[in-house]
């Protein structure tokens, strides 16, 4: 049996021993323990070092609000988690826990020097200390800070766990399974509502789990709890979720619940997810999230052995663990007496109760007297003493003049009042209102269909919690019903205090407000002195409330101290915003199933399987995967691409262009609609002809481009870029539906209906001629930039004669289901022409040799048609089109805009880096004006020279000029040339 385990009491199974280790020492607890209760049962308070000063720290709470006992937990097989609250980690056989943030060991920690060099870490030290000299940041400050700061170490192995997610809908979602939540779930489900009840702990019950004195409807609290739970579990319309935290409350009663499924288990079933994200939409939400006890602020309030009074009571009543043999209680609130009384009843010698209030309720004094507990009313604590464990406190009367007295102790239990947990209410955009009588914020105006019940609503009595929950669950108009009766409850009243009042000179020791971030009362006062008057600023300057606990125990204390320092009421200095998640939440549960192959959709073209079988290397292009190149044995990308380029220009290259966006524009006003959507004129485009279309946003910048073919007077086949397909469709629909609803036009996405096989090279016509029906392929009858409908291999086709390579080219559109078959026939028939499949890389090289732009590569959303040398694509006679007016804007017509040019490197084999900056002077010292950047750069096998496209200020006026591309190790000299490198006259197209 553990040294500090009481012989009886609590909900743990004393017979079921659980072995675990802490910093390599083997220890044991019992079934039902948390890691914290097991450590305390072994007499261990000191578990870690603090963030900034490396001060010894203990366990300060028994729940989610823990800000001190943050440990690293190893669950084996790469499962390592950092900053786990010992108070919420359930014990299991084989659990390995370690202290964080100490070096070389927990006991002997070098970082404690930080405390001796205190002034270095003064308020706002991030902003002050490390500013000078500038050069020292990278080499001196940052490495030291990284070594000594930080909260734990990140796991190194791949996360082996899987994470689940699901959607759920209900009539009433009850958050919190304490008395209020249980009563709400009971009354709601009794009325036939579909209810989800969630609680973050392993057991439902909340405060009832450590309540040994109250009677509910004449029944002992824990007996009532058991029967209430049995009733709920039996009801088909109730889902009870334990170990489930509501981490976020979003719009329209949408909440994220994280259910922890395996963190408490030793043996892991491979199919068991670690966590599950419930995305719940509820008609009504009942918040029964309880309240968090407030620490008191006095010198040495962080010594190990110091904890919240209610936590000590929970450890005793729920886990059967005495937190000390001679505890002392410091309070300004009745509730702390419950801990003192229960401990005394369990045979623990309570050293004293120090109560700041002069008028301690007589009933409490009387009961304390009966239990032999000394109560010092009107007293305050000047300091807590001790090293790795608190050993004594120095107390004195609040009123000046009284003598100070030292009281020995081995545990210090504090209570500064209670803070309703309004986090979720506030996340849901509710307006909080300040209650002076409680010294706390409570829910005010609700923004959503929700109610609060119990302590989170500022109603701390058990009776109020039960009847408030009952009313909320049943949807009564009154906030409280009278369904339940409660006896034996100690009536709680008191004041809320942050800093303990003191008549004496403030002690020199540190009095902590934020335990996790090591923010002291002095820091907050200093921030105010330095001129920070809003709590939002004070918070950021001191970092109070900014640790992973989000200030659950420190926000109100920080606020109260700032208010006092400013001499203004709390309500005047604001409240920081509560944001999700309520507690630290794993990335894994947010990702859920969306990882690895399931991270995102992969769209595959009709010939994808063939490409895979033929060794293609793929690349993602928006959601598509496209073949990038087809390496033959022994080839790297450069060699494969050089071969593909040469073969295409010499005879025939074949590639899959099915990913292009395709939109059919149909209707009486189709040509007029295109006139307005594209810069080009469409009215006179002949049936069976194609035109390159350039599309702008209303801001005048290039949005998309593609070839448009006219199939009939009222029917166009429009193509878009692969990545722009959906955007262009939405853009067109927008104008058609909302600006020009009078136009008679229909838009239909046909991207996935047509497979597109691009054939390029001088022999393409010979290749397809034997297989094409009903289309005259003669060069005069079917010229460049034309479209015909007919058949190929007996399959219907829309055959485009277009080229993105500068060679004779055909784009064979066939219904998608025939795409693969047609491709295979072409490969077969093309064998005698040495046909070569090529991917996107060769496509890019071939088009760059011709100076054809790719929207999104040569453009970045700030290029006008003129910038990319396409002023010719603008229909000059058109009165209007989308983006036309913007082309007259002052900045657009200003001189010296960046213009598309070609670059040739002085050294022919040097391929520039895409994105590299361009400067006008070779050896200017920084700062240097960057006059442009490289947009595309490749080795051109056909030209035996590297080529590049770039945008350069006033580029077209710089032809022949030398410019420079500085790189980390050298400076490349380049010559500005026309962007068309290959076949400038275009004679290869018109054959």
């Amino acid at each position: 049996m553990n040294a500090y385990r009481a012989d009886q009491g609590g909900r743990v199974e004393r017979g079921a021993s659980v072995a675990f280790s802490f910093n390599g020492t083997n220890l044991s607890g019992v079934k039902g323990d948390t890691l914290a209760s097991a450590l305390l049962a072994n007499g261990i308070h000191f578990v870690g070092r603090s963030f900034k000063y490396h001060r010894p720290r203990g366990i300060m709470s028994a729940g989610t609000e823990e800000a001190s006992a943050l440990l690293g937990i190893d669950r084996g097989q790469g499962r390592y988690d950092t900053n786990i609250r010992a108070t919420t980690q359930e014990l299991f056989d084989g659990l390995k826990a370690e202290s964080q943030h100490c070096w070389p060991s927990l006991r002997w920690d070098m970082g404690v020097l930080n405390e001796l060099g205190g002034p270095v870490m003064s308020t706002g030290f991030y902003y002050k200390t490390f500013m000078w000299p500038k050069s020292a940041w990278e080499k001196v400050y940052e490495p030291i800070i990284r070594k000594s700061a930080g909260l734990g170490r990140a796991p190194r192995a791949f996360d082996p766990d899987c994470y689940a997610s699901r959607y759920a809908h209900c009539d009433v979602l009850v958050v919190g399974g304490g008395p209020a939540g249980l009563a709400a779930a009971l009354s709601a489900s009794h009325k036939g509502k579909k209810v989800i009840l969630a609680d973050e702990q392993a057991e439902m019950g909340g405060s009832l789990l450590s309540d040994t004195g109250s009677l509910i409807n004449g029944e002992a609290a824990q007996a009532w709890l058991a029967s209430a739970l049995a009733t709920l579990v039996e009801r088909d319309n109730v889902t009870v979720l334990t170990r489930t935290t509501a981490v976020g409350y979003y719009q329209q009663n949408f909440l994220g619940l994280v259910e922890r499924l395996s963190d408490h288990l030793r043996v892991l079933d491979a199919d068991l997810p670690r966590e599950r994200m419930w995305r719940v939409r509820a008609s009504q939400v009942v918040l029964a999230t309880g309240a968090i006890e407030r620490p008191l602020v006095f010198a040495g309030n962080d010594r190990p052995g110091t904890m919240l009074a209610s936590a000590a009571r929970t450890y005793l009543n729920r886990y059967g663990v005495r937190v000390g043999n001679r505890p002392v209680v410091v309070t300004c609130h009745d509730s702390a007496y419950l801990a003192a009384f229960d401990l005394a009843n369990a045979g623990v010698g309570v050293a004293a109760v120090i109560d700041v209030r002069d008028d301690v309720p007589a009933a409490l004094l009387e009961k304390a007297g009966r239990l032999g507990i000394e109560v010092l009313g009107g007293h305050t604590v000047l300091a807590a003493k001790g090293g790795l464990l608190v050993s004594a406190i120095v107390v004195a009367p609040v009123q000046a003049g009284g003598p100070a007295r030292t009281i020995d102790c081995d545990a210090l239990l504090m209570c500064g009042g209670w803070t309703p947990s309004v986090h979720l209410f506030s996340q849901a955009k509710g307006m909080l209102s300040w209650r002076d009588d409680l010294g706390a914020y409570v829910p005010g105006r609700y923004a959503q269909n929700a109610r609060s019940a119990g302590a989170c609503d500022g109603r701390f009595l058990l009776l109020e919690a039960l009847n408030g929950g009952d009313a909320a669950g049943a949807g009564l108009s009154d906030p409280i019903s009278d369904t339940y009766t409660v006896a034996e409850e100690t009536h709680s009243s008191g004041i809320s205090l942050a800093a303990l009042p003191t008549s004496a000179k403030p002690a020199r020791g540190k009095a902590f407000v934020d335990f996790q971030h090591d923010v002291t009362i002095k820091d907050i006062r200093q921030a105010v002195l330095e001129g920070f008057h809003s709590i939002e600023h004070i918070k950021r300057y001191t970092t109070t409330g900014m640790a992973t606990d989000q200030g659950k125990t420190s926000n109100l204390n920080g606020l109260a101290i700032a208010s006092e320092a400013l001499g203004r009421p709390i309500v005047d200095i604001g409240l920081t915003t509560f944001r999700p998640p309520y507690t630290p939440t794993s990335f894994g549960v947010f990702a859920g199933y969306s990882r690895g192959d399931l991270f995102d959709v992969t769209r595959k073209s009709p010939t994808d399987r063939w490409a895979e079988q033929h060794g293609a290397v793929f690349e993602p292009v928006s959601l598509w995967r496209r073949a990038r190149y087809f390496p033959q044995p022994g080839e790297d990308m450069d060699k494969a691409v050089a071969r593909e380029c040469k073969a295409t220009r010499a005879s025939i290259g074949i590639s899959d262009a099915s990913t292009l966006g395709k939109i059919e524009v149909v209707g009486r006003d189709a040509a007029e609609f295109l006139n307005r959507m594209y810069t080009n004129p469409w009215t006179k485009l002949g049936i069976g002809r194609c035109r390159y279309g350039l599309m702008l946003g209303e801001d005048g910048f290039v949005l998309d481009d593609g070839v448009v073919g006219r199939l009939a007077e009222d029917r166009f086949h429009v193509t878009t870029t692969t990545g722009g397909a959906a955007r262009v469709m939405a853009h067109m629909e927008d104008y058609l539906q909302t600006e020009w609803a009078d136009l008679n036009v229909w838009l239909t996405s046909i991207s996935e209906q047509w497979a597109v096989i691009a054939l390029n090279g001088p022999n393409t016509r010979q290749l397809i001629a034997p297989f094409v029906e009903a289309i005259d392929l003669d060069k005069e009858a079917f010229p460049h930039m034309a479209i015909r409908e007919g058949k190929i291999f007996g399959v219907p086709t829309r055959l485009f004669r277009v080229s993105f390579t500068g060679e004779l080219g055909f784009e064979i559109n066939v219904p998608s289901r025939y795409g693969l078959a047609v491709w295979e026939r072409l490969m077969e028939a093309g064998a005698k022409y040495d046909i070569v499949p090529y991917g996107t890389e060769t496509l890019h090289v071939l088009r760059a040799e011709k100076g054809y732009i790719i929207v999104g590569q040569e453009t970045d959303g700030t290029q006008t048609p003129d910038d990319v040398g396409m002023a010719w694509a603008i229909g000059k006679k058109k009165p209007d089109f989308v983006g036309k007016r913007s082309l007259e804007r002052p900045d657009i017509v200003a001189p010296n805009r960046k213009q598309l040019v070609g670059l040739l490197t002085e050294e022919p084999r040097t391929v520039l880096e895409e994105g590299a900056q361009i400067v006008a002077e070779k050896s200017a010292s920084p700062p240097v004006d960057m006059i442009g950047h490289v947009t595309s750069a490749y080795w051109s096998e056909c030209l035996q020279h590297s080529i590049a496209l770039a945008v350069v200020e006033g580029g077209r006026a710089r032809m022949g000029e030398a410019l420079y591309v500085p790189m980390p190790d050298t400076v490349h000299t380049v010559k500005v040339v026309d962007p068309v490198f290959y076949d400038a006259s275009g004679e290869r197209l018109n054959v």
């Binding site: 329209q252 909302t738 007016r885």
Partner: protein
């Protein structure tokens, strides 16, 4: 995740079916060429960005494919109502009625 009622489908659907499309009731000028630079700038760039009632456009991209208008409170994110594109801006009176 917002729930949005498409006025064409007459169904409340999850936000993932929709895409946002900017402020509503900003009509494209019928003759942009007649506008001064300042007027064109106002049309192109200037938006109201209110705290409170906002008139905005949504596109039921993964549903019926139609654009519609909505009145949303930017403080609470609550939708007051949605209505087909082309309908006039609801009056303050209508909005207050819908809120209550």
């Amino acid at each position: 995740m917002l729930l949005i009622k498409c006025p064409y489908c007459q169904q409340e659907r999850a936000e993932v079916e929709f895409s946002y499309a900017g402020e509503a009731h900003i009509e494209r000028p019928s003759d942009p060429a007649a506008l001064s630079d300042a007027e064109w700038e106002a049309y192109l760039f200037l938006r109201s960005n209110p705290r409170g009632t906002h008139f905005e456009r949504w596109y039921h991209i993964h549903g019926c494919g139609r654009y519609f208008n909505a009145v949303r409170d930017t403080v609470t994110d609550n939708f007051v109502r949605t209505y087909p594109a082309g309908m006039p801006r609801p009056s303050v009176h209508d909005i207050d009625d819908a809120k209550t």
